[in-house]
């Protein structure tokens, strides 16, 4: 008789006690977290809290992708990195921090910039993909790869004092990125962290929301952000949620749509 390998390492389970106590997660939800494979693209402002909380939550395998290295201006908000790691690849710095938080999680650092082939390879077999990138071309690449592979894409983005979060999942009725934002704005209108600044705690707020949505999605708890875009304005202390829908004839997810609305 074949004996199945134990899901948890020796002494691992007690660290998840506070999640297991939650009715909406429980032992089953925690086991789903442990079995999950999550791809996090971007180990910067948003990636930092996402990675920290997912590793702490015991997500079994986390692949982290980034081609950048730690610089001084990152440390105002990218709390997964540190002064001692200036110049180090962000994915390696992230791996070190996550190993310190939860040695039972497998972290796969991938130091690369996304292209179409790499995106398809990285997305394949993932339970959930998390978009914590800092540019629209990468976001659209990831959206196309996730749509093609039918993997849900949890996406967060920030701008100065504001953030957006949603779960793109066209195969399950929610829009994809190209449904919601079919037009890439001209360069002069785009606001990036580099050109326009960003309040340091903002990626903490939006990234923690993303981590919460990821934990819910994997554990099967509550109501996801499928079909809803959350907008948060930290400067004015206001949030809005917008009901969003698929676009008929979307060039990216259109072929998947049986019943576009």
């Amino acid at each position: 008789m074949e004996i199945e390998a134990p899901l948890y390492g020796e002494g691992e389970l007690p660290r998840y006690e506070r999640h297991i106590l939650l009715r909406e997660i429980g032992g089953q939800g925690q086991a789903r977290l442990k079995r999950a494979r999550v791809l996090v693209v971007g180990a910067g402002g948003l990636g930092a809290p996402v990675l920290l909380y997912l590793a702490a939550a015991g997500v079994g395998r986390i692949t982290v992708v980034d081609d950048d290295s730690v610089s001084l201006s990152n440390l105002q908000r990218q709390v997964i990195h540190s002064q001692q790691r200036l110049g180090m690849a962000k994915v390696e710095s992230a791996r070190i921090t996550l190993a310190g938080i939860n040695p039972y999680v497998t972290v796969v650092p991938v130091e690369t910039r996304l292209d179409r082939t790499r995106a398809a390879d990285l997305v394949a077999g993932q339970t959930l993909v998390i978009d914590a990138t800092d540019n629209l071309p990468s976001r659209h690449l990831l959206n196309a790869a996730c749509t093609a592979a039918c993997v849900p894409l949890l996406s967060g983005a920030i701008s100065q004092w504001e953030g957006q979060v949603t779960l793109y999942d066209p195969v399950n009725g929610a829009p994809c990125l190209a449904c919601l934002f079919p037009v890439t704005p001209p360069e002069e209108l785009r606001v990036t962290c580099t050109s326009a600044g960003v309040m340091g705690a903002l990626p903490g707020i939006i990234g923690a929301m993303m981590a919460a949505e990821a934990i819910k999605e994997i554990a099967g708890a509550g109501r996801s952000l499928r079909g809803r875009l959350l907008l948060h304005d930290a400067l004015w202390g206001e949030s809005r949620q917008i009901a969003i829908h698929r676009t008929a004839g979307c060039p990216v997810c259109g072929p998947l749509q049986k019943d576009p609305t």
Binding site: G163, L189, V191, C193, L231
Partner: protein
Amino acid sequence: MTTIDILYFAWLRERIDEPRERVLTAAANVAELVDELCMRSERHAAAFSDPASVRVALDQRLADFSASLRGVREVAFFPPMTGG
């Protein structure tokens, strides 16, 4: 004429320098409202210089610029954010 609350997000808020304003308008649809807003100031015109890259929500539901404003109380304009 009806009174509508307008909300601006991201670069729209930054350009216009207000997160919201209340306007009295005769616009029948979103596109007409944007034309009216562009007349309010150079800041508004700059914010809407490329309306195709801005999305709109009417009473918190995604809509097109051709959508009617009849009965609408809140119009939110938001572009894609890119930062991470």
